[in-house]
């Protein structure tokens, strides 16, 4: 049980700045998911917390103790690796016990802890096997077990689900969440999968080019994305972006495609004619006359719903997700863009603009 706090953690590899100063406060027992595309620095951040990399500057505190200069073994953390990193020549029991053995724990106590963790993870029958005799899901459990027996202050997960097939991934995702809640161990979970991020995290850190673009709860990130990157990264299919300009008075925006959109939650500060990016999620677009005509070029049936890709007048692409079957969708689809569904971003910087 512990808190984690990062204070302007920066990392450079040679001349490449990988992390541009990350600040993060993690409360006791919280599950934080660090999510971002590959190369955004999320793994580096995790490795700095683990002590496998050293930060170029900034401090890492676990439970208020400055661990920036400590070895991984002295930080009281446990880590689950992407490929599990189970020692191939050791049995499941030995793998789980290894960290405890090195710390000089008594064999009886090791036995008790491993048995307890194995029972919790339902791998009790596998303790004598070697990793190569296990399936992917079982290896995953052993890797978790190795972390659990340590009873660490902090769990670190480095994309632990990405080597599993889709079905198992969903199952293990739920199990990790249940286990983490039950043990109440503060956790940092790195993934590139936004669904994993949304379902696992108490809060998300959306990373983009070495910066934390947004740190917030999953629903906050989805409902009020801080910039166009976050908006496009979270949600599937991705949010549509339409170019627009601010009308005089800031109460409305004129889409490049034609219609003027009223900003229903209040006027925005800014000069008339200021470029804006208006975002709208595919699932918020409705079918109906009186809006825009969508020239359909691809229909993706998903059973209960349908994703339609097309272009609107002015040439911008638009993706629509409709709760209707794919049949009967013609070449041109009239759609309505509800005013209150729009997210308003600065056209130049991409930052979210809230009502003044």
């Amino acid at each position: 049980m512990a808190t984690l706090s990062l204070d302007s953690v920066k990392k450079q590899f040679g001349t490449t700045q990988v992390l541009h100063g990350i600040d993060l406060q993690v409360a006791d027992g919280e599950m934080i998911v660090v999510v971002g595309a590959s190369g955004c620095g999320k793994s580096t951040l995790l490795r700095i917390v683990a002590g496998l990399e050293t930060a170029s500057s900034g401090t890492v505190r676990i439970d208020g103790r400055d661990v920036t200069a400590l070895e991984p073994a002295d930080r009281d953390i446990a880590m689950v690796f992407q490929n599990y990193a189970l020692y191939p020549h050791m049995s499941v029991f030995e793998n789980m016990a290894y960290g405890l053995k090195i710390r000089g724990m008594k064999p009886a106590e090791i036995r008790r802890r491993v048995d307890e963790a194995a029972q919790m993870l339902e791998i009790g029958a596998l303790l004598d096997r070697k990793p190569r005799q296990l399936s992917g899901g079982q290896r995953q459990r052993v890797a978790m077990g190795r972390a659990v027996v340590r009873e660490p202050k902090l769990f670190l997960f480095d994309e632990p689900l990405s080597n599993l097939d889709a079905k198992l991934r969903v199952q293990m995702r739920a199990e990790i969440r249940r286990l983490q809640k039950r043990l109440g161990v503060t956790s940092l979970f790195v993934t590139h999968d936004q669904v994993e991020a949304m379902t696992l995290g108490d809060r998300l850190v959306v990373m983009h080019q070495g910066r934390a673009a947004q740190v917030a709860s999953p629903m906050e990130v989805w409902g009020r994305p801080a910039d166009t990157y976050v908006a496009s990264f979270i949600g599937s299919p991705a949010m549509n972006f339409l170019a627009a300009t601010l009308e005089p008075g800031g109460g409305a925006a004129a889409l490049k495609a034609g219609p003027t959109i009223g900003l229903t939650d209040g006027p925005r500060a800014g000069e008339a004619g200021m470029p804006l990016t208006l975002g709208i999620r595919p699932e918020h677009i409705q079918l109906g006359e009186g809006g825009l005509d969508l020239a359909v070029d691809l229909v993706e049936p998903l059973g209960s719903e349908t994703v339609i890709h097309g272009t609107i007048p002015g040439g911008e692409t638009l993706t629509v997700r409709l709760p209707v079957p794919a049949s009967g969708i013609g070449a041109v689809l009239p759609v309505i863009l509800p005013w209150d569904a729009f997210h308003i971003f600065d056209g130049a910087s991409g930052r979210r603009i809230d009502p003044a």
Binding site: G51, L52, I77, M79, A85, Y87
Partner: protein
């Protein structure tokens, strides 16, 4: 239509069977020739070791066993044949013991040293790491024979002439083995190192608990090669050892062949040669099981 197609297919199938049979015969004949070329001298040696000295001394080359096997081997093992005016004879068991000592020490020493140096080169980053590696690598180009004079002088100055230490130490460094272990260590995933760091294992602990067990198959394979390398050493033992009690079997055998003063006891020499072949064969047979087992069980 279908009938003719069937006939055609049948014809082709029979042609394939004939071709396979022919290929098999060619393969067997080639292999038999190869075996004959390799095995014939060994056969002559084994057969020769069962006749008395005069049979071979007459110039006859017997192709089948004679009646003196037991007496020849007992004599070779216990006395090494009759002493001549110039050289006293050394029993085969002494020479075999020396060879065994030397070969095992060389193989174990080479493996220990190259394991450690490869471990240092791969898992640690320190200034001059690549320089160290390349220096080791360059020694590959300098076989024992090239540096034998300076090595000999060093050994003389250290007073290591006529000692097992002097026999073994100059042969103990191995660039080949270091290179081999380095290549193997590079295939060990970084995650093992990181997992061990988080588990709290220090460098030596990681070496002992993870790297060594993973290297077992490589060690077994190398041991076979290095043991035979050590066993077959000729030039260095010839130079450094003059005390006949330290003589290795490869050198000792050549000394058994006299310079014409007396008749060579070819039967004893051949019995010794057969005895000298046995330990390397035993090592290969025994270790083969080991590393084949290792190879089939290893999986990342």
């Amino acid at each position: 239509m279908s009938a003719t197609t069937d006939l055609e297919a049948d014809r082709l199938a029979r042609a394939t069977v004939r071709r396979n049979a022919r290929n098999r015969w060619v393969a067997y004949i080639t292999l038999s020739l190869g075996v004959l070329i390799f095995a014939f001298p060994i056969w002559l040696t084994v057969v020769g070791s069962t006749h008395d000295a005069s049979t071979i001394g007459r110039g006859d080359v017997p192709l089948w066993f004679g009646p003196h096997a037991i007496s020849n081997y007992v004599s070779a093992w216990l006395t090494g044949g009759e002493a001549t005016r110039t050289t006293r004879s050394v029993p085969a068991w002494v020479m075999l013991w020396n060879s065994l000592n030397m070969a095992v020490l060389i193989a174990v020493g080479k493996i220990a040293i190259s394991l450690l140096s490869a471990y240092a080169v791969v898992f640690f980053s320190f200034p001059g790491r690549m320089v160290a590696f390349w220096l080791i690598f360059i020694t590959l180009m300098l076989p024992v024979e090239v540096r034998i004079i300076p090595t000999f002088e060093v050994m003389v100055n250290l007073g290591l002439i006529n000692s097992m230490t002097g026999l073994v130490v100059p042969l103990i460094a191995s660039a080949t083995a270091t290179l081999l272990f380095r290549q193997f260590f590079l295939t060990i995933p970084d995650e093992y190192v990181e997992a061990a760091k988080i588990d709290g294992a220090g460098p030596l602990r990681f070496f002992k608990d993870v790297v060594l067990p993973l290297s077992v198959t490589n060690i077994a394979a190398l041991f076979v090669i290095l043991f035979i390398y050590g066993w077959n050493q000729y030039l260095w033992p010839l130079l450094i050892v003059t005390d006949r009690d330290l003589e290795t079997v490869v050198v000792g055998m050549t000394k058994m062949i006299g310079n014409g003063d007396a008749q060579n006891e070819w039967n004893i020499i051949m019995a010794t040669a057969v005895l000298a072949m046995l330990p390397p064969v035993a090592v290969v047979v025994f270790m083969q099981r080991w590393f084949v087992k290792g190879l089939t069980e290893t999986e990342k």
